[in-house]
């Protein structure tokens, strides 16, 4: 096991636990401060679970009523990108968990490296999401309310011709072949797909803001064995983002 590293010039300025400069005056000691913050964070994670639950229930209602539409629609999602993004998020969860350890041991440099890798993974995830989204937009697998949507019942002839011309109209003709009711349910899949992955993607973006803030504070030397609360709580948030994706990947991409 590694020894506690107290060489960092920036992280160990406080004398001891009871008199830490990081201790807010309304707490008795750093333990109480940490436990209070951590409990608050878990309560927030509870609200996050409930927040996503609404959309998961929406998904479950539509899928249980129209499994065939779900099976048909899922073939238009690229499993390869979904799998790569799963790996990207798992690796980022690993590096952020390692960064917490680094912060607890006062290894500021290693902590910063791990946080930067986590941030890069988050950026990579969004780039892949962008590639996937832009393809969906080009072929017209989007909300039925949009003008260039294959599911728009009042689509203009011009928009329809444009979609039919894109990539030899491969997707266009498959959707065209469906009955109106079938097309409605397949369209619902993509509406729910964009809501779920969009809300998740928004959480990734928020996570990138949090990670950047942690990196900047880390560079300033704010964190160390007596003050790693922000790193710990930020990491918990990042893990929740990973947890949601762990369920989204099989639910959206792997419908056989």
């Amino acid at each position: 096991m590694m020894e506690v590293n107290t060489q960092s010039p920036t992280s160990s300025q406080a004398d001891d636990h009871g008199h830490s400069k990081h201790l807010a005056h309304h707490f008795d000691d750093v333990h109480q401060q940490f436990d209070t913050g951590k409990f608050g964070m878990w309560m927030f994670l509870l609200t996050e679970v409930m927040f996503f639950a609404g959309l998961f229930v929406l998904y479950a209602v539509y899928r249980s009523n129209h499994p065939e539409a779900w099976q048909f629609a899922a073939q238009f999602l690229d499993t390869k990108w979904g799998a790569i993004n799963t790996v990207v998020l798992l690796v980022s969860s690993f590096t952020v968990a390692w960064a917490v350890r680094n912060a607890q041991l006062g290894e500021t440099r290693k902590m910063l490296i791990n946080l930067v890798i986590t941030l890069l993974c988050a950026g990579g995830f969004m780039v892949i999401k962008y590639i996937e989204y832009s393809h969906k937009v080009h072929v017209g697998l989007v909300f039925p309310q949009l003008e260039h949507s294959l599911f728009n019942p009042n689509i203009t002839a011009e928009a329809s011709a444009k979609l039919a011309a894109y990539e030899q109209g491969e997707v266009f003709h498959q959707i065209e072949a469906l009955s109106a009711a079938e097309r409605n349910w397949v369209g619902k899949f993509f509406s729910i797909y964009f809501c779920l992955t969009g809300l998740h993607g928004f959480h990734v973006l928020a996570g990138m803001v949090v990670l950047s803030w942690l990196i900047l504070r880390g560079m300033r030397g704010d964190f160390g064995p007596d003050n790693f609360n922000a790193i710990d709580f930020g990491a918990l948030y990042w893990h929740i983002v990973d947890l949601v994706w762990i369920f989204l990947f099989p639910l959206l991409y792997l419908i056989n």
């Binding site: 309560m43 009523n65 969860s93 968990a97 607890q104 990947f249 056989n256």
Partner: protein
């Protein structure tokens, strides 16, 4: 809190890199497994197996990456209560919707052009 405070300031459990790496390895193997089983024909068991694997993965993340194994039981309880209520929410709403879905489907058949 558990008594395994060998490292750090003692404010909270410090996870070893070895455990973190093993958990990451397990998560990657399970991702591969979910990918393989997702593309195979499992005669209607696809969703159950996929959700089982996802639950195992989520548990690993919670227990080791999120430190719940070493944490105050209160935090794990809070989280499990959230998951429990999601289950209640899901079961009631899906069950209810299956009851009247045929009226709705008929309406869509009649009115969607």
């Amino acid at each position: 809190m558990s008594g395994e405070h060998h490292e750090g300031s003692g404010v909270s459990h410090v996870q070893s890199v070895k455990v973190l790496a093993i958990v990451l390895g397990a998560l990657l193997v399970l991702t591969w497994l979910t990918y393989v089983t997702g593309s195979a024909n499992l005669h209607g068991w696809d969703l159950s197996i996929a959700m089982l694997i996802a639950t195992v993965k989520a548990s690993l993340v919670c227990l080791f990456f999120m430190h719940l194994k070493y944490d105050r039981p209160l935090h794990g309880t809070v989280f499990l209560v959230a998951v429990l209520f999601v289950g209640v929410f899901l079961a009631y709403v899906v069950g209810d919707s299956l009851e009247y879905q045929h009226y709705f489907d008929q309406h869509i058949e009649d009115h969607v052009k």
